[in-house]
Amino acid sequence: MDETQKRKKIREIVRQFASEDREPDASESLFDSGLLDSFALPQMVNALEEAFGIKIPDADLRPRQFESLDRIETYLNSRK
């Protein structure tokens, strides 16, 4: 999966669990904007694991890692 495909996939997954059907800005806080609530977050993380074929360790399960599209991409890149 190249970088463009990866970004597209992340956006798809975020929109799948977002409370509104809209495209968030890359740096927008998904929490502060109300797009992602506490209970959608674990489901979104599970979906990211499945889509990118990774297992996120418990130590990395901190909301900040998944707060925006940019942060999600940064975290996934760190797992290469």
Binding site: F39, L61, P63
Partner: protein, 310 residues
């Protein structure tokens, strides 16, 4: 290993509705229900403390088992909201019940406390005979503060639950248990020196959503019991959304996870045994049917216990 003989529970009389809470917190009652799945919680009276709550639940449990307090070989009380830091409530509960000089041990471990106490009782019953487990919390002392923390205040209530274990006989045999702790997240859910409860809800949910299904699977796998064969899952009643998430992760029907969180909110360590007492009244153990107990809470501490009906 020990057997489960009976459960008991006590809920304070005063029910606090979402409408009452909403007036205090300046929010909508519907928002509280939507965010938490909680419609009501109980608050203990001003002069009622965890010793009072614990004693009432213990008496209910002993009555249900047809046992006398004097027969108890060991008492374990899980509570993190006692009136005093030292001594913990266990010794006072023992006096109140008339247990005598049997050891009375405190487990101040918040939401996982009821499960930890059951696991310890499971290990101690062969040595002490009848072990009485009690979990009691007066969470209202932590959340009824000014200014209130809305996200915390909507969740918690007061109550107590109890469980009587013994080396032989009873209604169910405890087959196995697992306990885990990870202090790396200690700040995510904590009561500080000022007595205020601080909670990073997203971290708690994210971690609990992962650790609860995994610890349940751990205890089931090592005893070769498929999740689909478990007749009931009795979990710490944190909120309905978390219970539903655990059911999804285990791929079992949501109804298999007993829930009374709508009626009582999150009563921390007490919730597991209050749930067990209500479940026992409505359904109860069936011969050969596996039942799982599980909890997750501040620490983080978490674990699961597998019992099979006799």
């Amino acid at each position: 290993m020990a057997n489960i003989e009976a459960f008991g529970a006590y809920l304070p009389a005063r029910a606090v509705s979402n409408a009452e809470l909403a007036r205090w917190l300046g929010c909508e009652a519907d928002w509280i229900l939507q965010a938490s799945g909680i419609a009501e919680r109980r608050y203990a009276a001003e002069d009622e403390d965890v010793v009072d709550l614990a004693a009432r639940a213990a008496e209910a449990c002993l009555a249900r088992a047809g046992r006398r307090a004097a027969d108890v070989g060991c008492l374990i009380v899980a509570s993190a909201t006692g009136r005093r830091r030292i001594p913990g409530p266990a010794a006072l509960v023992a006096v109140r019940l008339g247990i005598g000089e049997a050891p009375a041990l405190d487990v101040p471990a918040a939401s996982a406390g009821g499960l930890i106490a059951m696991a310890l009782g499971n290990l101690l019953a062969p040595a002490y005979g009848m072990v009485l487990i009690v979990a009691a919390e007066k969470m209202s002392t932590l959340v009824r503060r000014e200014p209130p923390d809305r996200n915390v205040a909507i969740l918690f209530g007061d109550g107590a639950g109890a469980c009587l274990l013994q080396a032989e006989g009873g209604r169910a045999r405890i087959v196995d248990h697992v306990l885990h702790s990870d202090g790396a997240f200690a700040d995510s859910l904590a009561v500080g020196a000022d007595g205020a409860l601080a909670m990073d809800g997203r971290t708690v949910i994210l971690q609990a959503s992962r650790k609860l299904p995994r610890t349940i699977t751990e205890v089931l796998d090592r005893n070769s019991v498929p999740a689909a064969d478990v007749s009931a899952f009795l979990l710490h009643q944190a909120n309905q959304n978390l219970l539903d998430g655990v059911a999804r992760a285990l791929q079992v029907p949501a109804g298999r996870l007993f829930s009374n969180v709508r009626a009582y909110g999150n009563t921390s360590s007490a919730s597991l045994l209050i749930a067990a007492a209500e479940w026992e009244e409505r359904e109860g153990f069936r011969s050969g049917a596996p039942v799982v107990f599980a909890a997750f809470g501040a620490g983080f501490h978490w674990g699961a216990l597998l019992a099979v009906g006799i």
